[in-house]
């Protein structure tokens, strides 16, 4: 039996050894440098071996290089909306300029609408969830998808002279073969004619489409609506990753001349500047629009009453709205007869765009919320983002109200959800807190995206965090500048740094540096965690002066250019002058979290070493630390004599001297030690003794794995406090445990780590020395909450009510399903 057990153990040990050897070999093969002995992990290893080698296109400082290039695509588009059929017919002429140093034999065009074909890669790769339920939404979507075809109907692809160009469609991409290679510095012009059924956004979902109102009217919001040039870059060639639905877009800059033909009673919001107001606006509307150019408060171009009136009339006529936009990477527009339209202007310190026209478009269903807040929130966003990036780079900024909870960004135009509902609009036409702050939040976020990535043109398809994370960080910052206590002064000023640890401790997560479609927990990974990271970088690690300078430098360098992650990381280090490789490695390249513990604090006082001075002190301390047992004390109290009390002749030298009695040997030893000291060593010791310094050794343990600076609050016996920031570099030789020595003339009574909640520490129970009992969040809530009893009563009442109608409530949630016996199918 024993023999068998040994055998099994040996076999397991062997297997483990083989696996370890394989893993080591594998690791060595994958990386040019590896820790091939021991388990040391260098959390401060420089990222140069991970980042792409710098070249003349992208230099090691993180800036565009002397030979930086990017492609250019200019568009002339004519589109006609058929409202009744919810269909678009269009043609475009694209002039594509090849600035790459190499010739191109073919071009790739993005066909994002093909995502909504039945057999698209995105559609076919949808997987069912863990639970066996089917929702009404799912049934409706299936019906909408089968009721009519979606995706592009490509009618023709022709060269400038009219000759057909061969093309090949690959899911959401189309390759156009050129008759001859397009050489560097040359342009080619071709045209595409197409049509598409516009998706019902509520039924199918997506980033654009049509909203159908109960009164039969529509709001059309056209996004990813035209065949767009795929990006071609120095680091990826053609960006051919298909559109699966989550990863957004990689696009080229260019000028747009777009003519949009819609029913004559529609109002159109679109990327660019309206070229023909005389043909599409009334004289009154033109006069109001001109007045808005000097207004610092919103003024109506179309009033709510006029919009209501507009809905009543109806027309078979059409009008063509023509817009031009310069240097934009995308194009979106919205059209409806329901639109109320207001506008105002913000001034800024910029030669190209000294003033920006802010416009909001919304149906009456959005009132009274939209006219009160939308344009002002756009103005606020521009003010905040201008500080962190650059002056708003376009002549106008628009906020358009689309379907519930929508939110999407395009150059100059944003689509934003949230509107009060009819039930809310009781006589005083009010709206809920959730709706108000939902609207303000989404507008700040989407307008912010006009900076990132519409101008700082990162690749959303690959790296969601580069626009979502950076933008959410600034949008989070803008919240604090909108009003104190945003969005709810009674909610305890929630901090992102208290929120993110709940996600970062997860076992199942991916690093921020993960391709957009492969991210688990998209919001926490691509939005919230980068926000927490950048907040810590600004407020704690770099400080505002260094951070803001470097962050602005990144925006300045990559304005109207295409940055990659390493360009951001390198610029932040280059401009701040601070090595942050450890920070990127921990927050962006790993799934570590922050949990640092103060494990122990050991106190010492500096000793002269002189036995005549020290032994007496030692005796006092020993008696303090090791009090006499109760038994001899009680014996004395009862008057009991010991044996040697009764026979004192038995006492000798050892009864009169303890271990703290100074002997000549002790004095000789001390004198010999002092004689061996150099003069400077004696001076240092005497000086320190005069200051009366206490010495503390503070042990920290890194439980979460992420190395971070250690902000500690030291409390002294006299009641005073000291704040101290130990830099993260203390972990560079040992990322698991470190000890910090503190020398203070005052006596320390306690130390707290991260008292200001600034490093996103996940477990505060181990942040104190000596330990404290920290109530859990739930326990703290119980103490603080005053409405618990009220809610408990309400809950009881509701439970007694709902017992009767539980089935009805569940029927509202998902479609009824019954299991089918497989035999019945045969």
């Amino acid at each position: 039996m024993h023999k068998n057990k040994s055998f099994v153990s040996s076999a397991l040990a062997y297997a483990a050894f083989v696996f370890a050897a394989w893993a080591l070999h594998h690791d060595t093969a994958a990386h040019p440098v590896s820790q091939s002995k021991g388990t040391f992990e260098d959390k401060f290893r420089q990222l140069d071996e991970t980042w792409p080698t710098a070249n003349t296109y992208r230099v090691a400082s993180g800036a565009p290089g002397a030979d930086y290039w990017q492609q250019r695509a200019d568009y002339v588009i004519k589109a006609t909306l058929d409202e009744k059929a919810m269909r678009l017919t269009a043609s475009e002429t694209i002039t594509y300029t090849n600035n790459a140093p190499e010739s191109l034999r073919y071009l790739w065009v993005q066909l994002d609408q093909n995502r909504f074909k039945h057999d698209s890669l995105g559609e076919l790769s949808l997987a069912a969830g863990e639970s066996d339920i089917v929702s009404y939404n799912a049934l409706r979507r299936r019906q909408a998808m089968t009721a009519r075809d979606h995706g592009y109907e490509i009618k023709s692809v022709r060269a400038a002279g009219g000759a057909p160009l061969p093309y090949t469609i690959v899911d959401t991409m189309m390759r156009i073969d050129l008759p001859r290679p397009l050489r560097t510095g040359r342009s080619t012009t071709f045209s595409i004619d197409w049509a598409q059924n516009i998706i019902d956004e509520e039924a199918i979902g997506g980033r654009g489409g049509v909203e159908v109102f109960e009164d039969g009217h529509h709001i059309f919001a056209l996004a990813q609506w035209f065949p767009r040039m795929a990006a071609y870059s120095d680091y990826e060639g053609w960006h051919t990753k298909p559109y699966l639905g989550l990863g957004e877009f990689a696009l080229e800059f260019g000028d747009y001349d777009v003519s949009i033909t819609v029913p004559a009673d529609h109002v159109v919001s679109a990327t660019g500047v309206l070229q023909n107001p005389g043909e599409v606006l009334s004289a009154t509307q033109r006069r109001r629009l001109e007045a808005a150019g000097n207004a610092d408060e919103p003024v109506f171009i179309v009033t709510p009453d006029e919009a209501l009136e507009n809905e009543k009339e109806g027309t078979d006529e059409t009008r063509t709205w023509r817009f031009k936009a310069e240097n934009v990477r995308d194009y979106a527009w919205a059209s409806s007869r329901k639109f109320v339209w207001d506008a105002m202007t913000v001034e800024q310190d910029d030669e190209d765009n000294p003033s920006v026209l802010i416009m909001s478009f919304y149906p009456n269903e959005g009132e009274p919320l939209w006219s009160k807040y939308s344009s002002h929130v756009v103005a606020h966003t521009i003010e905040v983002f201008n500080h962190f990036a650059f002056p708003y780079p376009y002549p106008n900024a628009q906020s358009v109200n689309v379907w519930d909870m929508g939110g999407m960004e395009y150059p100059m135009v944003t689509f934003n959800g949230f509107r009060p509902t009819d039930e809310e609009k009781v006589e005083d036409r009010t709206y809920s807190r959730e709706t108000k702050y939902g609207l303000i939040t989404v507008i700040i976020h989407e307008i912010g995206h006009i900076y990132y990535p519409m101008v700082v043109n990162s690749d959303e398809r690959q790296w969601a965090w580069m626009d979502e994370g950076i933008n959410t960080f600034l949008h989070y910052t803008a919240h604090f500048l909108w009003e104190e206590g945003y969005p709810n002064p009674s909610s305890g000023r929630p901090s992102m740094l208290d929120r993110i640890p709940d996600y970062m401790v997860s076992a199942n997560q991916v690093p921020i540096m993960t391709q957009s479609d492969s991210i688990l927990q998209y919001a926490n990974n691509a939005y919230m965690k980068p926000t927490a990271a950048l907040t810590i970088l600004r407020e704690t690690i770099l400080g505002r002066e260094l951070f803001d300078f470097a962050f602005r430098e990144y925006a300045r360098r990559w304005k109207f250019k295409r940055p990659t992650p390493s360009d951001f990381f390198r610029t932040m280090e280059d401009a701040s002058g601070v090595d942050l490789d450890w920070f990127w490695r921990g927050w962006f390249y790993s799934t570590d979290h922050v949990d640092i513990s103060i494990e122990d604090v050991r106190a010492y006082r500096l000793s002269t070493g002189d036995p005549d001075q020290e032994f007496a002190k030692d005796r006092i301390e020993a008696r303090r630390d090791r009090p006499e047992p109760l038994t001899p004390q009680n014996n004395r109290a009862e008057g009991i004599e010991t044996y040697t009390d009764r026979f004192p002749e038995l006492r000798d030298f050892y009864n009169d001297n303890d271990r703290y009695t100074v002997s000549n040997a002790d004095r000789n030893s001390y004198n010999a030690r002092m004689a061996g000291l150099e003069d400077w060593e004696k001076d240092a010791l005497e000086s320190a003794l005069q200051e009366g310094e206490n010495i503390y050794f503070v042990d920290f343990r890194n439980i979460g794995g992420l190395v971070m600076p250690l902000p500690i609050t030291i409390v002294y016996a006299d009641g005073s406090e000291e704040e101290m920031m130990i830099p993260a570099e203390i972990w560079r030789r040992n990322a698991q445990t470190v000890t910090k020595r503190l020398m203070r003339d005052k006596t320390i009574v306690s130390i707290e780590l991260d008292a200001r909640h600034e490093i996103a520490d996940a477990d505060r129970n181990n942040n104190y020395f000596p330990r404290r009992i920290i109530p859990s969040r739930l326990e703290a809530f119980k103490v603080a909450n005053t409405t618990r009893n009220l809610m408990a009563d309400m809950l009881l009442e509701l439970k007694s009510e709902s017992e009767e109608k539980e089935e009805d409530l569940e029927a509202n949630e998902s479609a009824p399903l019954v299991p089918v016996d497989s035999n019945e199918n045969r």
Partner: protein
Amino acid sequence: MSTAPKSAARSLSRGSCVYLATLLITIMLVSRSHAHRAHHTLTSVAWNSNTYAIEVIHRLHIQDAVRALQKRHATAHLSLQPVRNQALLALYVENHFSLSVENKTPATLDMVGVEFAGDEVLVYQELRLEDPPAEVSISCTLFQEVFDTQVNQVNVSIPGSVQTLMFDKTGALP
């Protein structure tokens, strides 16, 4: 075609937690997303050795919670500000999250309360026990009837580590 109800069981480390999917009937789900924001919940389950209770904290996006209650109660508007509607949310959570200890029937968790935190609403539940649980089973279907792209993550803290359960759609979002 399989006709057996889909039920998955997975063991977590140290044998202390087992995951059981809800026993409902399978059919292919198709997805819909509101353009920009993904629909996620994050629930933390932890044993509090000071109070001898399993503490459950659900982090829900306010707008998602509102939408779920609107759908459940077939109403076009519902604000979470009135205490009554917070109680409705509490009731909803009770109906869409369950926890069983040692393979028994789902326990009746005490509803501790509802709290707002930024754009989130936190729902607190707890279960007092005489001994630390050796095994916990969890089911979480929050908002899955509202958003077909819903992902619910439950982090179960056991001494020394966190185990994560995902109640999600594994496919891409449109």
